[in-house]
């Protein structure tokens, strides 16, 4: 509702300033007004709203000082002064409307980007592969690890990273690998999540080194059976989960940032 009102106000401001410009300004003045407003809008579009605002303020204040400068020392009656002020108001109104228009577009764009980011964070699964998003992976890992520690169980996590020269190749390997990993782990006890760009993290709960090797063997068999995929297309490392979730979280976050690779 508020957005609608704001848009309406900007729309009205633009029209009022243009109509007043047509009524009270001569051709040159009208062209100057339109050009100045256009340039201010363009500047905001290509820089930032605040820098654009600084330009708008320079324009408005500059106009004020210009008005004082050109009328200083002249005998001007009150009517002419009023018209001079009216013209300045039209210039200002037009520039403000132009700035407001681009500002509101920028705001809407920023809001859209931020909402999109939020939606991505709230997603539970990565759409193309069905593995858990990083946030969801961490949420579930927290529950699993806390429970395991209470029961005195051990756990391991594996970090897989796709290697290759071309991005399009890596994308195919990544998708195949995620599919095979999901098939190789226990659905109800293990987690497969996104661990950064071209990186997958697998949490194997309530298991030991032998259990880890079983999963890896199972994966190797599936890789062999997969068309155009070899063990050389990716690397992996095995890690103990550690004493508590905080240690695990810190280590995994480091992987996610790409520091540990």
């Amino acid at each position: 509702m508020q957005n609608k009102m704001t848009s309406m106000m900007i729309f009205i401001l633009l029209y009022i300033s243009t109509i007043l410009g047509v009524l009270y300004l001569n051709t040159h003045e009208l062209l100057f007004m339109l050009l100045a407003s256009f340039l201010i809008g363009l500047f905001v579009l290509f820089t930032s709203s605040m820098l654009g605002f600084a330009l708008l303020i320079v324009y408005v204040l500059g106009h004020g000082f210009y008005s004082v400068g050109v009328t200083w020392g002249k005998e001007i009656n009150i009517n002419i002064q009023s018209i001079q002020i009216l013209k300045q108001c039209i210039y200002t109104l037009s520039a403000v409307a132009s700035w407001l228009l681009i500002y509101s577009i920028n705001k809407a764009r920023e809001s859209y980007i931020s909402l999109e980011k939020e939606v991505i964070e709230l997603r539970k699964f990565e759409p193309s592969t069905d593995i858990l998003t990083f946030n969801e992976f961490m949420e579930r890992a927290k529950l699993l690890i806390t429970g395991m520690r209470r029961r005195g169980e051990t756990a391991y996590y594996l970090v897989f990273e796709v290697i290759g020269e071309k991005d399009y190749q890596k994308r195919v390997v990544y998708e195949k690998l995620t599919k095979l990993l999901l098939q190789s782990v226990r659905v109800n006890y293990d987690l497969v999540g996104k661990g950064g760009h071209n990186r997958i993290i697998v949490l194997l709960s309530n298991t030991n080194e032998e259990g880890v090797q079983i999963v890896l063997q199972r994966l190797a068999q599936k890789v062999d059976a997969e068309y155009n995929l070899t063990l050389k297309d990716f690397i992996y490392s095995i890690h103990d989960v550690g004493d508590d979730f905080a240690t695990f979280s810190e280590a995994v976050a480091s992987w996610k940032r790409g520091n540990a690779s």
């Binding site: 605002f53 303020i57 004020g64 008005s67 002249k74 001079q84």
Partner: protein, 413 residues
């Protein structure tokens, strides 16, 4: 006569030009993305000083906010209880008992009474790398102190840092709204502009930090100064110190909710500035280097601007009564309109840079030129009267404490 009038008008416009340039400087400073502070490897120790005289109405909220300060280094908070007769001591003692880093200190009686003497006492009893000052009605945001220290430590030649004071009771009435707008324009925006263009910062009396060694070097606060912040600013600038502005380090402060309290508070500020002008004129050192801008601004605002205002009023009255016939050809309507426009633009710019542009504030800003801004003359006359009276009677300055408010009622300390 026309020459005098034109000269006055030119000076007036130069002052407006200066403020317009500051406005643009301020918005450019706020537009910078890299103006954020950087975190430190080691955080120096800080002693927060809170002078308190009969602050029972607000001190609990203040100390609650202080207990939430998130500072990675050693932090001690001192409530400097200056002979309070209300429950200030009781509340401060409770916090002293509840938190290891909050201390209730009874300041021994002495003269001259006021904030400066109390702060000097606080400096003498504390040991820390930095001194932070907060008024007793302040509620700083948890990161405020950390941001101030980071700015002071990472800015070369910095001797401290200054934060931003926001109005906690802004929506109470038209007066508090106008004060909030005034603060955002003439404290934050102009401060930011001065820092951006001239690397000049001014202490604002609260939400600030200063290096202890520097404070000791300059002899602490001038106990006779009623505008102790402005006074210390000149002293620190004189020794080449910088005071970076940190708009993100915010504190929330209560402002006067009625005209009577506002008038008393502002008269004291005016008296303090008049004392400072006198001190500046007597000391040519304070006109050298970067201090020139501080001192020149003081003179322009408190002496020249008022002289221009009086002259124009006089001119207007004489013209009305037919005592003088003006042949001046200056377009007065345009001048008046532009003056209003510039004032309005400054207020709107401040709100924009603070990201709090609201339709009601735009309307209040529109009216402020005709109401709030015109009080300046009354304040100056009142301040000058009390200042001269004090000089003639050779008495010590009286610290006229600002009354605090609770649920719409004021309680005078």
């Amino acid at each position: 006569m026309n020459t005098v009038f034109n000269l006055v008008a030119i000076c007036f416009w130069l002052l407006l030009l200066y403020y317009s340039i500051l406005t643009v400087g301020g918005i450019l400073f706020r537009a910078k993305k890299n103006s954020k502070t950087k975190s430190l490897e080691h955080y120096p120790s800080v002693a927060v000083l809170i002078p308190a005289h009969n602050e029972g109405v607000v001190i609990a909220d203040t100390l609650h906010a202080m207990s939430k300060l998130e500072y990675p280094g050693e932090l001690h908070i001192y409530v400097l209880n200056d002979s309070s007769k209300d429950e200030t001591g009781e509340i401060a003692q409770y916090y002293d008992d509840s938190y290891a880093h909050i201390h209730h200190i009874e300041v021994p009686p002495g003269t001259p009474r006021g904030k400066s003497r109390v702060l000097n006492y606080g400096i003498s009893i504390s040991q820390s790398d930095y001194i932070a000052v907060y008024d007793a009605d302040n509620q700083p945001e948890p990161h405020a102190l950390r941001l101030l220290v980071e700015a002071a430590e990472t800015t070369p030649q910095a001797v401290g840092a200054v934060g931003y004071v926001k109005t906690i009771n802004e929506s109470r009435n038209a007066l508090t709204r106008m004060i909030a707008l005034e603060f955002s324009a003439f404290q934050l925006l102009m401060q930011a502009g001065r820092w951006e263009l001239f690397k000049l910062g001014s202490l604002t009396g609260t939400n600030l930090i200063i290096r202890r060694d520097i404070l000791e070097q300059v002899g602490g606060y001038d106990s006779y100064a009623l505008a102790e912040d402005a006074d210390l600013t000149l002293t620190l600038t004189d020794i080449g110190g910088l005071l970076p502005i940190v708009p993100e380090a915010r504190t929330w402060e209560q402002e006067p909710e009625n005209f009577k309290v506002w008038l008393k508070q502002r008269t004291r500020w005016m008296q303090g500035n008049l004392y400072l002008i006198e001190k500046t004129i007597k000391n040519p050192r304070l006109f050298r280097g970067r201090n020139f801008i501080h001192s020149a601004q003081l003179l322009l605002v408190y002496i020249c601007f008022v002289f221009f205002l009086l002259m124009s009023d006089l001119w207007f009255l004489l013209g009305l009564t037919g005592k003088v016939h003006s042949s001046a050809t200056t377009p007065l309507l345009i001048l008046w309109f532009e003056s209003w426009l510039m004032y309005y633009v400054q207020l709107v710019t401040a709100q924009m840079s603070d990201k709090t542009l609201r339709p009601l504030d735009l309307l209040v800003s529109f009216l402020m030129y005709f109401s709030y801004a015109q009080m300046w003359l009354i304040l100056l006359v009142r301040g000058a009267y009390y200042h001269i009276k004090l000089k003639l009677t050779k008495k010590e300055p009286i610290w006229d404490k600002t009354a605090r408010f609770k649920q719409g009622k004021n309680i005078v300390g």
